[in-house]
């Protein structure tokens, strides 16, 4: 079984649209939306939720003001300034380190498992197993939720004898991205020919190398700036990476998005579909 993660460094380059398109061509797959911060794949694949689970991560702490003797030890020890003057805990800056809980001499602080989000085991409109998740508002630890989604995807793929796990990755280079690419067979990097796209591409290539993951590059909206596209091709060449496709800018992409449809379905004869089929042939 092969695991492929679509990443980009920069946001908004077309990761989700491409993942959705590939999912329509590939056979015998499981898809996983690992952008748990702002998941969008469900807007194109319309999964029917079959199972739903709470995701617990980290600890939540609470001070019992009746028990508290206001000795101030917790406030002195907390490095995240999460304990207010009136000895209540502010959940936003709290990192969940538990220093307050361990130091409290009168055990006035209670500890509970923190429910940080939910994840779903679903099936898309055309019966592809799909694992996705949603992080509760203002929760952290999205990297752990990504790992959970991948774990479930792997379980599902093993259960259904799937050949591929197709992962829609998060933007950036931080913990959720690390969790989405570690141990995969291929990182499919989507970039765009803007200076910011190039900047972020260089960083994400380093990340993939850091995790020892093979990568290939796709330039989306390549005709917005041909000079930058050429530079991207040069970077790929220097880095020993294959630039496997260039997708032109076309309003059909936004139109299909607004219609809530994958391009392969919205405009089956459009040239973009030919390119996407080629991409799949190259990466499968």
């Amino acid at each position: 079984m092969k695991q492929i993660t679509v990443i980009s460094g920069k946001g908004g380059t077309g990761k989700t649209t491409l993942t959705a398109c590939l999912s329509q061509i590939a056979k015998n797959i499981v898809v996983a939306d690992c952008d748990v911060d702002a998941a969008d794949l469900h807007l194109l694949l319309f999964p029917k939720i079959k199972e739903k689970y709470n995701f617990f991560s980290g600890k939540a702490y609470k001070i019992d003001t009746n028990e508290c003797i206001k000795c101030n030890k917790c406030r002195e020890l907390c490095r995240f300034n999460a304990i207010n003057d009136n000895f209540t805990i502010n959940r936003i800056p709290c990192d969940g380190c538990g220093a307050c809980y361990y130091v409290c001499p009168v055990s006035a602080i209670s500890e509970t498992e923190n429910c940080a989000g939910v994840y779903y085991i679903s099936s898309t409109e055309n019966s592809i197993p799909m694992i996705h998740a949603s992080l509760h508002t203002a929760e952290d630890n999205s990297g752990k939720l990504v790992a959970q989604v991948r774990k479930e995807a792997k379980k599902k793929a093993e259960g259904t004898n799937a050949n591929y796990i197709l992962i829609d990755g998060p933007p950036g280079i931080g913990c959720p991205v690390n969790a989405a690419i570690v141990g995969v067979d291929l990182a499919l990097i989507v970039t765009e020919p803007t200076l910011s796209g190039i900047h972020d591409l260089k960083r994400i290539i380093q990340i993939a190398k850091y995790f020892n993951v093979k990568s290939m590059v796709i330039v989306n909206k390549y005709d917005i700036n041909l000079k930058n596209t050429e530079e991207i091709e040069n970077i790929c060449h220097e880095q020993g990476l294959k630039c496997i496709a260039k997708i032109p800018y076309d309003e059909i992409v936004v139109k299909s998005l607004v219609a809530g449809k994958v391009i392969t379905e919205f405009a089956p004869d459009h040239e973009i579909n030919t390119i996407i089929k080629k991409i799949w042939e190259e990466i499968k």
Binding site: A138, S196, Q206
Partner: protein, 277 residues
């Protein structure tokens, strides 16, 4: 006034909005808080005049003092220390720098040593300070870098523009906390709307005033506008799709270097100021 520019979704134009607001202000500070992929400097073309490291304190074990009691591991909520029979293993990449392990070690066998997690680059654009945070490759946690970045502008009485990372989790919250106003940039597509709703929830949870900018406003549908109306959120500005904007953006240029857009962004800033009075 501290203005944070966020979006939920990536690629909607946060950096476009934040660098161009910064450009029309005569006195301001720009903080690029998208420390995983900072792009502001590309448009502001700042030369770095100073680089400084951001550290978090991570434990180092003095094994001659350690009695392998396991207390440090017990109080570490992030599994960054494991105590074996005659060996203590430290995983610095899991450490949040909370200091519990050192504090609770009865034998004083733990010292905290600084570990670099990222850098802050200082630059100048038209006489104004530009600070760019940069997370080190492979480093999972950006909030310490963002925190340090925000310290740069602490206590300074001028307008501060915070370019936020995408998403809705810890790095975004670290960035927008304490802002006087949050601009959410979105696109009129189902993706844009979905992520906008998530971002609005975050901003509301932090009880901050907010307004919306729709980028490429004529390239989708009207659901974002309807949502703003229903939720009574101020629609600050609509920027139609314009190939000239896309091209100048791809070359790293500021659109407010033209008179037309300078006027539009000055009005945007004035409207925000009115909103916060």
């Amino acid at each position: 006034m501290k203005i944070a520019v966020a979006s939920g979704k990536g690629g909607t134009g946060k950096t476009l909005i934040s660098t161009n607001i910064f450009n029309i202000l005569s006195d301001a500070i720009y903080l690029d808080c998208d420390v995983e992929e900072p792009n502001g400097h590309i448009f502001l073309k700042t030369e770095t005049i100073r680089k400084e490291s951001v550290y978090i304190p991570v434990p180092e074990i003095n094994e001659s003092k350690c009695v392998f009691c396991g207390r440090c591991s017990q109080v570490c909520n992030f599994n960054a220390i494991i105590v074996a029979r005659r060996k203590v293993l430290v995983f610095p990449e899991l450490c949040h720098g909370c200091g519990s392990c050192a504090y609770f070690c009865n034998k004083k066998a733990i010292v905290e040593t600084p570990k670099e997690v990222g850098r802050i680059e200082t630059g100048i654009y038209k006489g104004k300070w530009v600070y760019t945070g940069r997370l080190n490759i492979g480093e999972p946690m950006s909030p310490p870098v963002i925190k340090k970045l925000k310290e740069k502008a602490a206590g300074i009485d001028t307008d501060i523009i915070l370019d936020s990372p995408p998403g809705t989790s810890c790095p975004v919250i670290e960035t927008i906390s304490g802002a006087d106003y949050v601009i959410l940039v979105t696109e009129p597509t189902p993706f844009g709307l979905n992520d906008l709703k998530l971002a609005v929830n975050v901003v509301r949870k932090l009880k901050l005033p907010l307004g919306i900018v729709i980028n490429k406003s004529d390239l989708g549908d009207s659901t974002v506008k309807k949502y703003c109306k229903k939720e009574k959120i101020k629609l600050l500005l609509e920027i139609p799709h314009d190939i000239w904007i896309a091209e100048s953006y791809s070359r790293g240029e500021l659109i407010t270097d033209t008179e037309k857009f300078a006027g539009i962004f000055k009005k945007l800033f004035k409207d925000i100021r009115m909103e916060t009075i």
